[in-house]
């Protein structure tokens, strides 16, 4: 099991995270069987460097669009602008989507963003490989 990404899509996620810096960016990865087919850049309603909440209306609209298109919630991404790419206590507490891979992008070294994937189920974290193809 891994999260499979086209290189240009992962790059687009990095660009989104960089654009929102120093605030946290967030988005939805839709696709099938771990393969990302579409990125939704979402609005962080909190506009904060330490917290994100997807705009609820936007989230509802995107999830409906995905359901109607037969797409799965493959992943959820967000950035940590001042810490490493590992789930925080807040990330674990608010992980309501056991089916998704939580992709965390660290911008500690802003020029070299680092991304890691995790499943967070029943408060337990397990790392999922992120495979990138061109």
């Amino acid at each position: 099991m891994s999260l499979i990404f086209k290189k240009s899509d992962l790059q687009a996620v990095f660009e989104h995270c960089d654009r929102e810096y120093p605030n946290e960016a967030c988005g939805i990865l839709s696709g099938k069987e771990g393969r990302v087919e579409k990125i939704y850049r979402m609005t962080n309603a909190e506009r904060s460097p330490s917290f994100y909440v997807m705009d609820p209306q936007e989230q509802f609209r995107v999830m409906k669009e995905m359901r109607e298109a037969g797409q799965e919630l493959v992943g959820i991404y967000h950035s940590h602008t001042g810490s490493r790419a590992y789930p925080s206590a807040t990330d674990v507490d608010l992980a309501y989507y056991p089916e998704a891979v939580y992709l965390i992008v660290s911008l500690l070294d802003r020029k070299n963003p680092a991304a890691r994937g995790f499943r967070i189920r029943e408060q337990k974290i397990s790392e999922i490989a992120v495979n990138v193809y061109s």
Partner: protein, 92 residues
């Protein structure tokens, strides 16, 4: 008289794996109580002291109940209620 209720994945452990259930509740408050009766454990996940939790979004058809009458939002036959946990987190 029934409304359809969409249950998100993490709460399906209470509904025996069902992604959709039905209810005859007349408003959101009643719905939370009815879900608790059929599927014990749901109320605590959805609400705290009678209020829907901050990170739980509830929609009647397409409308967020925060922009309607919140817990008192009325339900009518044929409505679809979606329970959608917020996607949230961060460094903290």
């Amino acid at each position: 008289m029934a409304v359809k209720v969409r249950i998100p994945t993490p709460l399906q452990k209470f509904t025996n794996g069902k992604a959709e259930v039905e209810s005859g509740a007349k408003n959101i408050q009643e719905l939370v109580d009815a879900l608790e009766k059929d599927y014990p454990g749901m109320k605590e996940r959805l609400s705290d002291g009678g209020k829907i939790r901050r990170f739980i979004n509830i929609y009647v058809n397409e409308e967020d109940i925060r922009f309607m009458n919140k817990e008192e939002t009325a339900l009518k036959d044929g409505d679809t209620v979606s329970i959608v946990p917020a996607i949230a987190g961060g460094r903290g």
